[in-house]
Structure formats: C-alpha cells, structure tokens
Amino acid sequence: MSCEEMRELFSASLESSLDAALTLKLESHIQMCSACRTELDGLRLVWDKLDVLETVEPPKLLHGEIMERIDAERESVQRPGLLVRLRQMFPSPRALAAAAAFAFVLLAGYSLHYTQQATLGPIHFPVVQSQPNHFTPASITSIKQNALHQHLWEITIKAADSEPGMLSCTIESPSAAVSPSQVNIQLKPGETRHVQFYLAGSGTVANLTVVSRYQNLNGENTSQIGLSQ
C-alpha cells in the first residue's frame, strides 16, 4: 500500500476503529516510513487541539434581533385566509368550486405521498387539514379563468424565497375531468410559475384523488397545506 493509501487510514487508526489486519499493515508501514510517522503524530496533535476549541458567546442583542425578524415575518403572513380571498375573487359558487378544485390539486401537490379524496359539489369546498400557511414552501398567488375559454384555468404558484433548493412537485390527478392528469414542476427559491389546467364539463369534480410528491434539499418533505375555512 502506498503512503497515500496509508494516510486514508489515519483517522480510523486514531479512533481505534481499524480492523486488526489494517492496523498491522499501518503499524509496519509507520515503522519504516518516517514521513507517515511525522504526519500521523501531527494529525494526533491537530485532533487534540480541535477537541478543545473554546466556545464563543453570541452578542447580547442577537436574541432580540432574531425575535424582531420573526415578529415581522408573523405580521406579514397574517392576511385573510386563502378561502376568504377566493370567495372575494369568485363570487359565484360554481366558479369558486372549480377554482378550489385546482387550488386543491396544486396545494396538495406539496405533500409527500399524500392521498386525499375531496368531493366537490356546487357548494362543498375541499377542506384539507392544514398547517399555518407561512410554513409552506410555496404559495398560490393567483387563480385565473381564461377570458376566452371558460374551461381553461391558470394557477400562479410561487416558491418561498427561504427554500434552500429546488422544489420538485408532481401532481397527479386521476380524475377524468382534469387535464393534464399529471404535472411535474420544479421551482427555484422565489420562482413564480404558471400552470394551466383544463377542466371538462360543468366545473364539478367529484372524488378527486391527488397523489403527489414534494421534495427539497432540506429533506423534511411533508407538508400538508390546503384550503381551510
């Protein structure tokens, strides 16, 4: 084994986690090779020093600064709930039901292996168990019905600026009334995207089942967000 290969064993050797055979190899190499011997001694010294690094005190004002930012953030998200805003946007129950169906498809898209059945009638809105909205990785910023094609809807979705990486989202909708039945999107932090859906028939979607996946670099992937009253 070369010196370089021997040096790959150094940490394990200092932690006594090398197996007997490799320990023997390393020991006999060290006896013959002064360069590696010096290196290993040096590493031991560095290790000892690392283990006694002192801690530093955070500035006294830091906690206040953090809570100030949190308070500002809390204030900025205490706006009317999505459903309230939807009601303002869509005065007719049918239009709202259609919009809510799409919102539901998209919102549910942010949960991991999340399956939900929602029955939408003229006035039954999907009520999905929801976390407070300011924890969500993305939000719907608008839902628009195409002026010329009443079955075509456009949803605008925006990823939070705070997201550490790409948000990947797959939205599958087995319902025949919604097309496309599957949409894959990726959002960068802060990115805004428009997704178009075509809603067939009268705008009523019964038993809409959404299976979706959401992933980001943070790995903690499950968030249940949705419409709540």
Binding site: E8, I70, F135
Partner: protein
Amino acid sequence: MSGVAAGMQPEEKALIQRCQKGERDAFDSLFRQYEKRVYNMAFRLCNNYDEAGDVTVDVFLRIFRAIGRFEFKSSFSTWVFRIVTNVYLDRRKRASNRSSLSLEEYIALEETSVTRQLESADPSPAQIAEQNERTDALQHAIAQLPDYQRAMVVLYHTEGLSYEEIAEVLTLPIGTVKSRLNRARLLLRQILQNQQELF
C-alpha cells in the same frame, strides 16, 4: 434517525409542537436554547463575528418557516445543524456563483482550488501576524478548508456529532463523510504546518 428522535426529551417535543402551532412564546424559548450552538457553529464556519450573526438570524428565520415540516424523524438538533449548514453553504455558493453546480462538482472544485492555493501561496510573515491578531491559528486554519470539509470538521469536532449524524445533516454517504473528514484533518495539519510551523 428514528433512534435519535425516539430519545428526544418530551419537553423539547412539546415545545416544538407548540412552535408548529405558531406560538410565539414557544419560538422564544426554543430559540434561546439553540442560539449559542447555532452562533458558535456559524462562527466556526464563517470565521467572522458579523457574518456569524447574520447566518444565525437567517437560520432561525428558516427554522421558523420550516418547523411545520419537521416530522420528528431525526433529532431536532440534527435538523437545526442541517439548516445551519445549508444557510452557510448557500451563502458561499451564491458568493462564488457556483449555485448551479451539483454537490459532487462543488466538492471537487473547491478541493482542487484549495490544493492549488496551498501549493502556490505561502503567506508572508506580515499576513500571519495579522491573522494571529484576528483569531487563533487553528480557527484560521479551519477557515481555509473547503466549505464542505469545514462544515464536517465543525460538526464533528466542535458540535460533537457522530459520523452517522453528519451523513444525515449533509445527505452524504457515511463512507464519504469519514474519508472527507480524514482528508480535512490532514489538510488542517498541512495548513498549520505551512503557516505557523507549530507542528
């Protein structure tokens, strides 16, 4: 790791659950418990008190926004360290315009650049004196490690995380963590030897 999460103190779990409901008091207490560790880790990573403060604030904002998605599958501290590491690495990548690189490309690139740097430029005695004024030799040497190696050294040696936990924080295979940490320690020794003749 579910083993770690299972060992979570019930008080901490209750506090996190209150945070998930959005209770301000709960955030206040939870953040007090973690501020010193987060700040220390940030300082070891940034080697700069001001930047450590900025990183710390960013970390807690990110925790605030993401705590609803914490599922008690890992220990909370592992989750927090992951956020600290991400905030720090995001800043570095943004500063060096490397945000489009994959993790492996990023690690490879920063390792070649540090090797070149070590081979070509021995600091002048004046530079060393200046560095000593600012901070101690070891801290300065840590600051010269490539970002990922630096994060690993800090997590292992100053935060006391296990290899398994670091693998979880950085989403890297455990073998990679062990070999990179070994390389990082050897590099640290080389930096210290080149600059300070301490060893």
